[in-house]
């Protein structure tokens, strides 16, 4: 692999950039692999990379129905943070955040991880209680998260309206300074390039249509649009489509796939220095390096695979945004789109062995999938390689829905009393 560097770019500039090689290769599939990962998003590509890099398993294929990173990897609002409440969540998201911090260097690909700070706004006593519960838990766990007064919040994010006359005045904020954003496409491409360099096969435009099982019930490979491909182990990492894939192996998973919309504004000169979220008014916003305000909208209420959603979700999001940042009322929405989030009943992910031997699943990341990418991929590789979960992902089992040992981040955010 040609190393990327400022010198390489300068050298190529001299010859019209004609010397660059493909970032990844797309070979003909082999008859069989040690591991097949279904799903070529950040999680799947990353898992393939770590299988090769950390576990020495290089006879790996990533099979993607469409194009790499075309699902939620390329459709999210790129927020990264780790200030979750429960230990199971802190474990995986903090593991992920630590990997984000060195990912550009690890992959030799600038994923533009930008720790500009993620600030969550508190609007009432209930928010404050909940945020402080998070902040204290995070601190005792070694994760940064601090309480800001409204004035400190405004200093951190000048466009914020902290007036007492607002419909929901801000009474403080929780700030994770190490939180931020990254360039979503670069994550998929960076993992693909690095994995490909280690010998992983990346097979795009190849839909999996079935999972074949052996006499002992174990998986033996996948039926695809390009024929049968054998596999000793299969890892499913297909986000919103995981239900469909798992059903091919007669495994039901507790998922609901919902549309989640987002939008960007026209490009503007830098005005918004950080990431701001508000649960009370339902909004999150940051500004991309290109200058677009990137705004995450709410989830449509129904289950759907249409990758579209209702305009009312957008309007409700924008009225909240403009309530927090009144100066944005004249800004324009340039593009809106939808993704499919895979939501579990407790809003925590599933990374688990399954009732089918050698079939592993990584799904249910809901709205947290992007920030989890490196951590999830890294631990999923561990699960597939060793056949048992890594300590940091041990709580994310399918079995918790039987025992009731849920990791209910949503419930912990609770509702106003």
């Amino acid at each position: 692999m040609r190393k990327y560097s400022v010198f390489a770019v300068a050298r190529e500039a001299m010859r019209s950039h004609k010397g660059w090689e493909p970032q990844w290769v797309s070979p003909e599939p082999r008859a069989s692999y040690d591991v097949i990962i279904i799903g070529g998003g950040g999680h799947g590509l990353g898992a393939a990379y770590y299988l090769a890099q950390e576990h020495g398993i290089t006879n790996v294929a990533v099979i993607e129905k469409g194009w790499l990173g075309g699902g939620n990897t390329g459709r999210n609002t790129t927020i990264i943070r780790s200030n979750y409440l429960y230990e199971e969540s802190m474990d995986i998201y903090e593991h992920s955040l630590k990997l984000w911090e060195g990912l550009s260097q690890e992959l030799n690909y600038n994923v533009m991880y930008s720790p500009r700070g993620v600030m969550m706004l508190s609007h009432n006593t209930h928010d404050q209680q909940s945020f402080k519960r998070h902040i204290n838990a995070n601190r005792l766990y070694g994760i940064d998260n601090e309480w800001l007064t409204p004035e400190q919040a405004k200093a951190f994010c000048p466009p914020l309206d902290i007036s007492k006359t607002a419909r929901y005045p801000i009474n403080g904020a929780a700030l994770q300074k190490r939180g931020g954003t990254a360039r979503h496409d670069a994550v998929a491409w960076g993992y693909a390039r690095a994995a490909s360099d280690l010998g992983v096969h990346i097979i795009q435009n190849c839909e999996v249509t079935g999972i074949r099982r052996g006499p002992g019930g174990e998986v033996t490979g996948v039926e695809t649009a390009r024929g049968f491909i054998g596999a000793k182990k299969i890892g499913v990492s297909a986000s919103g489509h995981s239900s469909m894939i798992m059903q091919m192996a007669d495994v039901r998973v507790p998922l609901t796939s919902n549309p989640l919309q987002a939008l960007v504004s026209e490009p503007l000169k830098p005005i918004f220095p950080c990431v701001v979220m508000s649960n009370t008014v339902h909004a999150y916003i940051s500004q991309s390096d290109k200058g677009e305000l990137v705004i995450g909208a709410g989830t449509d209420q129904y289950h759907s695979y249409s990758q579209t959603g209702g305009l009312q979700i957008i309007t409700h999001t924008l009225d909240a945004i403009c309530e927090l940042f009144p100066i944005f009322r004249r800004v324009k929405m340039m593009r809106q789109w939808g993704g499919i989030t895979d939501n579990t009943p407790d809003r925590s992910a599933i990374q688990s062995v399954t009732p089918v031997k050698n079939l592993f699943v990584n799904c249910g990341w809901g709205t947290g999938g992007f920030k989890a990418t490196p951590g999830s991929a890294n631990l999923f590789a561990h699960l597939i390689a060793r056949g048992e979960p890594h300590r940091l992902a041990a709580g994310l089992t399918l079995d918790r829905f039987r025992t009731g040992r849920l990791i209910d981040e949503a419930a912990a955010a609770a509702v106003a009393h």
Partner: protein, 108 residues
Amino acid sequence: MFLIKCPYCGDERSELEFRWAGEAHIARPENIAAISDEEFAEYFFLRDNTKGVAYERWRHIHGCGRFFNAIRDTVSDNFLLTYKAGLPRQPVPGPQPVTPDAPEGGAA
């Protein structure tokens, strides 16, 4: 924003008036106190999450207030049928409407 025909109102109304209420025809076990942990998880958590023709419940919460059932294609989002609560699972009306492919386009 969907347009949904409420089987009680007989009228097509804006989605704003409705609440989605999960997959349909999942009856609460009559002997619920006696079922196993696995059966409980199956009843309470596991869902088909169908891609394609799915059975689901809606409530006309800001209208007549009634829960009802619907058959909807979760790829096109087209409703194939809505029918009153309590009726058994209705057959999918034919002919099958056109289902567009999920857009392959991306975002930012």
